[in-house]
Symmetry: C2
Subunit: 476 residues, 2 copies
């Protein structure tokens, strides 16, 4: 699907016009995209949204209609509109692969090219990476709470707009959901699609048993019957068991029952007991109704017997403390080969200047020890002292380890280098990465803080730039 290049903030376009006016359009610039706090007050994030972002960069073209609209704003000169006519993104992008575990304060995307091309794409990159990374992280947390239970994404009707739903389904499956109710996401991204039926199905028939029989007739091997329209234990489950028996007699199997209200821990235990007693231990129990990682954890802690969790609103909108939006930012770190940094009154929020690498220190067993942000030509090994970027008083010695680049060049001079990956490959990467993390990082409450340090050379460069800025201000 084409995304218009006008899906951007107006200021990107006014800045472009200004750079062109000043003769600065072709200066070489480098931007980093990163976030400052792990979402959901958690210990990690799952990187997602890269492929759709690269699609946007590849397809970036202004149509005549779009240029005509910009002309109608009476803000831009004809020369700038002419410039946009042939505008293409020909920059280079370095990024982790989708499904990778990433952390606050390390560059995720680094985008380099002309000042205009790397500035223009800010909004669309942030839009894609911020939202999908947030949802993939939420999905990973929910799947971790669900243990051996399956998680299915059911959020389209409460998602933030049509694409809020589509992107959410994609990202949820990267983070570990096994399928989605969203049929278009199934088609567009090759995701498994799943579903049950609505209360309205039951109400459209004279009674519940007739409704269940009709649904099982239509889908004799894939029916999941919603049992709470009238009363779960005295009506829904007995009727579902009757239908399971009838299906069985005809050589078919009821796939499952769905609980959508009430005390899910209690009802799932009772449902399991009734189904087992009736001879249907293979009929699965699906639960839904405002689920998230906390509710699922509590259902399991109480011995609930849910096999499949249908998670809607709170997954598709990534809600919960520290959720809803990932505060990703996109900051200039070099121009014309000169490292740049932004410092505000809060030094801890100062950016990390220069073009950089992100290395992951991997222990002898393959486990992840810590991440390290360093300059491109830094030589770092075990034994090096490395520093907390937000507080240089905190430092640590890098243990003996293998240092692996977290990122790779995924687009070079506008050409995509990354082959299309199936979502399942990204989901597998996510599972593997999470298993290699220190266990405490996956905890929901007060998670272990995985270290992201900076190299001595990067720290020194930052200090030099801060001193130079202070000196400049003393002179001014």
């Amino acid at each position: 699907m084409r995304i218009s290049p006008l899906l951007t903030d107006l200021y990107e376009l006014t800045m472009l016009a200004g750079y062109l006016e000043e003769g600065m359009a072709d200066k070489q610039a480098v931007f980093d995209l990163y976030f400052r706090t792990n979402p959901f007050e958690g210990g990690y994030a799952i990187f997602a949204g890269l492929a759709p972002a690269l699609d946007c960069l590849e397809q970036l073209r202004f149509t005549e209609e779009e240029i005509g609209y910009l002309a109608s704003l009476h803000l831009f000169k004809p020369r700038f509109l002419e410039y946009l006519r042939t505008f293409r993104f020909c920059g280079t992008v370095v990024a982790p692969l989708e499904g990778s575990v990433v952390f606050a304060n390390e560059p995720l995307l680094t985008v380099s090219g002309t000042l205009t091309e790397v500035q223009l794409v800010e909004t669309v990159l942030l839009n894609s990476i911020n939202f999908q990374t947030l949802v993939a992280t939420k999905a990973a947390r929910i799947c971790s709470a669900a243990g051996d239970g399956e998680v299915i994404e059911f959020g389209l009707r409460r998602a933030q707009g049509p694409d809020g739903g589509l992107s959410a389904s994609r990202a949820a499956c990267i983070g570990g959901a096994k399928g989605t109710s969203n049929v278009l996401a199934g088609m567009d991204f090759g995701l498994p699609v799943r579903g049950t039926h609505a209360h309205s199905w039951v109400q459209s028939f004279p009674d519940e048993l007739t409704a269940f029989r009709a649904y099982a007739d239509a889908f004799p091997d894939s029916s999941v019957l919603l049992v709470d329209t009238y009363d779960t234990l005295t009506s829904g489950l007995p009727n579902a068991i009757t239908v399971a028996r009838e299906l069985h007699a005809r050589g078919h199997n009821l796939r499952g029952i769905r609980l959508d209200s009430g005390d899910l821990a209690y009802l799932s235990r009772e449902a399991r007991r009734m189904l087992d007693a009736a001879g249907f231990p293979e009929v699965r129990i699906l639960a839904s109704n405002e689920l998230d990682e906390w509710v699922i954890e509590s259902i399991r802690n109480e011995g609930g017997r849910v096999d499949i969790y249908g998670v809607g609103t709170k997954l598709a909108t990534a809600s919960g403390p520290g959720g809803v939006a990932l505060g990703g930012v996109y900051k200039l770190v070099a121009i014309d080969g000169q490292p740049k940094m932004k410092r505000t009154s809060d030094l801890a929020k100062a950016t990390l200047p220069g073009a950089k690498r992100v290395l992951r220190a991997v222990g002898p067993e393959g486990s992840y020890l810590q991440d390290l942000v360093c300059l491109e030509d830094d030589a770092v090994t075990g034994g090096t002292t490395v520093y907390d970027p937000t507080n240089p008083l905190r430092h640590t010695t890098l243990p003996p380890c293998r240092l692996v680049d977290l990122r790779q060049v995924v687009m070079e001079r506008g050409q995509r280098l990354l082959a299309e990956e199936p979502i399942e490959t990204m989901a597998e990467r996510c599972r593997r990465d999470l298993a290699l993390l220190p266990q405490g990082c996956r905890r929901f409450v007060n998670p272990h803080r995985y270290k992201v340090s900076i190299s001595p050379q990067l720290k020194a460069l930052r200090c030099r730039l801060i001193e130079a800025m202070n000196a400049g201000r003393r002179q001014a």
Copy 2:
């Protein structure tokens, strides 16, 4: 933009296939779309998202590619896929106009037609109405906090996907925002677009003053300068004032300055003082940085001097307590002319059966007194006793009033009756409606609860249906 009919939950399609199988596809059915709690723990909601929803209904067609995908799922019979080939939405939709003030527990959309057509559109209607109503309501709250200050929507980069951004910009302007940074939303919906520049602009120049001069050269009458890249009061504002003087000498005017960090109440007071002292009382102050209705209220309570609020994340994602998602539901209320209701163990959540009208009781001055849900042929007047739908022990007597239909037929047998309205007309309706509400409804904390009652006839129908269901269960 075409929205695929596959942007739906799988169960809508399996139910359709089941209805076709059972010979029930052409039964006449009526569904109500409504929500059960006002968003943001507030006293009202602003209805939005109708026009995009009607677009979807009008354009509903299955392409060969989409039908091919459904065939590949091995769930559906050829007869059903054939049926989808010529499937159109030919139903009737009753709804309020966008920008109207609406409340929990009153039907917003009522959709009638064949069981299949009204069932299939459930997901896409909920997706559009839920999200846009939520954002329009958030915008109305934020604008109410801003008083005479202007609100501009700046949320695209943190929005939930590309369309999360587009829909949010549209709905924000219905709720009262005066513009958006989202250029595509400007083009698609005719909204005013606005912007400033980024920190990267300032960093791309040798110093801040050079950067400000360059921007003002490019946009001599529309520059809003971001003054917090180095230090707001000692660097940004003095440099902005220098540029304001230089522009003035050349017959131009600096439009404004933008504060994006720090203590916005304090900094805006200081900025106003410095700008006024320099002879620039007309230069406007724009503030941004994680604003919402509460932060804006606090800035104004402390005497802040902000003229324009740039509100991003919390507006575009409609976050805050009771936000993020509106829990709109879509429930069957009649089939084959017979009223239907869903009752679960919680009787207060039982639906309101039958095809209904929503009347607004309007006082002599035009002010809104309460809303009333009644059956289509009910005769209701002042003096009638009306009932709380969630608790019949609460009842009240309708005062002398004019009863006005809240809704109108906006689509009849698939034909749209509603002419396209500019967003500004909807925004004007929102302003007018809010002014006619009891004042306490607009309060953020413990708002006045505007009454939505049901008529005696509707209450009687509901009691009859509950009794019939209880009798049925006793027999079973």
